[in-house]
């Protein structure tokens, strides 16, 4: 509870959603993630400007986003870092080797926001940035409101240059 009180107001879900919309994203593809559940996924589900596609397993998102990209439709994939890890082969093939504009927003489950992800006590969180780095995937940590400004230019770059990008959500947006 103390963490939730401390975190309140540090990262605005409303502002993240505004950045997503400003990036001309039409589709959000998602498996629920507790880090982003109430601050992002729930309001996105109620938002009339974004079409939410709920999928059964995270790698489906990679294929759907790729298909949409051939139609000049932008998508954001909203998942948990465990789902990212489970989808690495699809990300390897489609996002990296085919150079597709796959945009991922990845909640870092049970991450301690005061720490850098590489210093997390959670093994799964600790390995995220090294894996993204080894795969050559541009990534940004979104942990406080000031980080939200990174989202729109990064999505624009991903689609303009046809390359993947990952946003690591370091605390629960309020």
């Amino acid at each position: 509870m103390a963490s939730a009180v401390t975190d309140a107001g540090l990262l605005s879900g409303e502002r993240i959603i505004a950045a997503i919309k400003a990036s001309a994203v039409e589709y959000v593809l998602s498996v629920p993630d507790i880090t982003t559940s109430s601050g992002l996924l729930a309001p996105i589900a109620r938002d009339g400007d974004l079409r939410l596609i709920r999928v059964c397993k995270e790698d489906e998102c990679i294929g759907i986003a790729s298909g949409l990209s051939y139609c000049d439709k932008r998508a954001l994939i909203l998942i948990q870092h465990t789902g990212f890890l489970d989808s690495i082969n699809a990300i390897r093939g489609i996002a990296v080797e085919y150079k597709q504009p796959i945009c991922m927003m990845v909640g870092l489950l049970q991450h301690e926001p005061e720490r850098e992800p590489r210093a997390s006590s959670r093994y799964g969180v600790r390995i995220m940035e090294p894996i993204l780095g080894d795969m050559g995937i541009v990534h940004h940590l979104i942990s406080v409101d000031a980080d939200i400004a990174k989202i729109q230019p990064a999505i624009e770059k991903a689609y303009n240059e046809s390359e993947p990008v990952a946003f690591l959500i370091g605390r629960s947006p309020a």
């Binding site: 294929g63 051939y70 000049d72 390897r92």
Partner: protein, 188 residues
């Protein structure tokens, strides 16, 4: 029992401006029978052909998308049946060639030969579901399968084929992806 290439020759007679998404053995047979710019064979990960197809169908609701998937591929992404049925794209036709083997990976059997894929699709909520084991019946009904509102699912019960040559550099050719996008996005 049918042969996949025979089924695809029948199918090819009915294909016009649809996107055809195919992988592995289905892709090898299909591109040999119907080489065309609107073939989409860069899937990137086994099982995701149906998911690529869903994205294409969502992005171009005015055009139809045909997915040619093997049973091994579908088993790697069974959840796609639920996702596709929930999204319910009217322009998606999902055909699964069931030969009960991982043909591209040495012909080993799938975990169970008794899977009722059509039953799974029906239970997931596809708008229409078919189960074809006779080529004459497939010939008779294929036009209707392709024309009706989807999502449509059909199992094609086929024999394992003779050994195929998998030309992956050609199937995954970036130039073909670029040409596909230009043709798929053309406004007609």
């Amino acid at each position: 029992m049918m042969k996949r290439d025979e089924c695809f020759r029948v199918l090819a007679r009915h294909i016009t401006d649809e996107a055809v998404v195919a992988t592995y053995s289905s892709a090898v047979d299909w591109v040999g029978i119907a080489p065309r710019v609107l073939n989409y064979t860069s899937i990137g990960a086994m099982g995701l052909d149906s998911s690529h197809g869903l994205g294409l169908a969502l992005g171009r609701p005015d055009k139809r998308v045909v997915v040619l998937q093997g049973d091994g591929s579908l088993l790697m992404n069974l959840g796609c049946l639920v996702t596709i049925a929930a999204v319910a794209p009217k322009n998606l036709i999902h055909l699964v060639a069931q030969n009960e083997t991982y043909e591209a990976n040495g012909g080993h059997p799938i975990p169970s030969p008794k899977v009722d894929f059509a039953g799974l699709a029906r239970a997931a909520g596809y708008a229409a579901v078919y189960d074809f084991a006779e080529l004459d019946v497939f010939k008779q009904q294929v036009a209707h399968v392709l024309e009706q509102d989807g999502p449509v699912f059909a199992t094609l019960h086929i024999e394992p084929s003779k050994p195929l040559t998998y030309d992956y550099p050609s199937l995954y050719d970036p130039a073909k992806r670029k040409a596909f996008k230009a043709a798929w996005w053309a406004k007609n």
